[in-house]
Assembly symmetry: C2
Homo-oligomer: 231 residues x 2
Amino acid sequence: MEIIPVEGVPEVRPGDRLADLLVAGSVAFQDGDVVVVTQKVVSKAEGRMVAVDHDDPRARAAGVEGESVRVLRRRGDLVITETSAGFVCANAGVDLSNVPEGFATLLPVDADRSARRIRDGLRARTGVEVAVVVSDTFGRPWRRGLTDVAIGCAGIAAVVDLRGTTDTQGRELHVTEVAVVDELAGAAELVMGKASGICAAVVRGVDPTWLREGGSVRAEIVRPPAEDLFR
Amino acid sequence: MEIIPVEGVPEVRPGDRLADLLVAGSVAFQDGDVVVVTQKVVSKAEGRMVAVDHDDPRARAAGVEGESVRVLRRRGDLVITETSAGFVCANAGVDLSNVPEGFATLLPVDADRSARRIRDGLRARTGVEVAVVVSDTFGRPWRRGLTDVAIGCAGIAAVVDLRGTTDTQGRELHVTEVAVVDELAGAAELVMGKASGICAAVVRGVDPTWLREGGSVRAEIVRPPAEDLFR
């Protein structure tokens, strides 16, 4: 498996078709590639930006509340909320970095749909059939440090269910549902860096049985509150 | 960046030196490689196995309690605990899969030390300087599906701190501490699969500035209870 940063993508502006910009980058996409695209450029292209006074914490807090259906925890400036799409993350995903001064990005309204649109656009532009993962950077409650995870996907199962296969001892495996899109998002982050302006990476060589229509982070990964032990 | 499964590693038995077994595998290690090794074989080599009656849930529960310092949540057979090493995970990491019938593996006592021992062993055997990550498969409170994360590391920073660098707009980034060892563990899992008997993978081509003495999952990633909003 290879992970290849997509360099040379032009600056993204509201209304841009991301597929058009991605094909201008350094990687010639191939059938079966997984193209991981960061939330930041997806939100910019979709116009999911709001004007904020970076020095006014109350204005930012109002933006976070507008994106949230529930506040889980607060400590100082940090607010952990559940977004309208069901993600539990800091500040509802409202992000001030890598956006023009005076603006913040909001999460895409439906990042699975964003991923489908990029996938369809890449097929239309290049004729190749790729999977797309939209990634964002989230914290974890019991582990320091951030990792990139998937907030949307298309053309790939979000979770690969290995239940019912047997382990190397011939015993049935009971619970091995692997969130492969999250692992793909994290793997892509390793070649993107945070300050280098690279907004996409390709993972080449994934198990082709994972690729399929109808994958969805929202349907497969977002845990319904009723299942949740920690909300 | 490339991710390469290490095939052909002999079956691991208690008392084995893992470095000796890994060099018998399909990959010739190179300076700067990150070698990700699954907890299962580290625990086997270190003799961290206990006899359990797989059909007796009470016996398993007793094993889990012995490994835990705190129970966070219970639901049916599932117990989320904090282990003595500080990991919050299901069943204290006690695992029945891919071990001989009648046994379960426990987490290594100190997986950072386990990683150092493998790293030192590979240097002694091959003369190459690699980083080592010991990985395990954990759930997440708000996301379905499991991902592999790091429980120990050596020769690499667990968290790469990008605070103070500037983003593409020239603005200072405030919080971008990336848990690269967790992303490396997840990336490695993508080529290992659960049922294929592959216990290690190499990530080749990581940023060389991440490689250093003294990295530690326990010191850098395990979140102290006092910082925790969800315990």
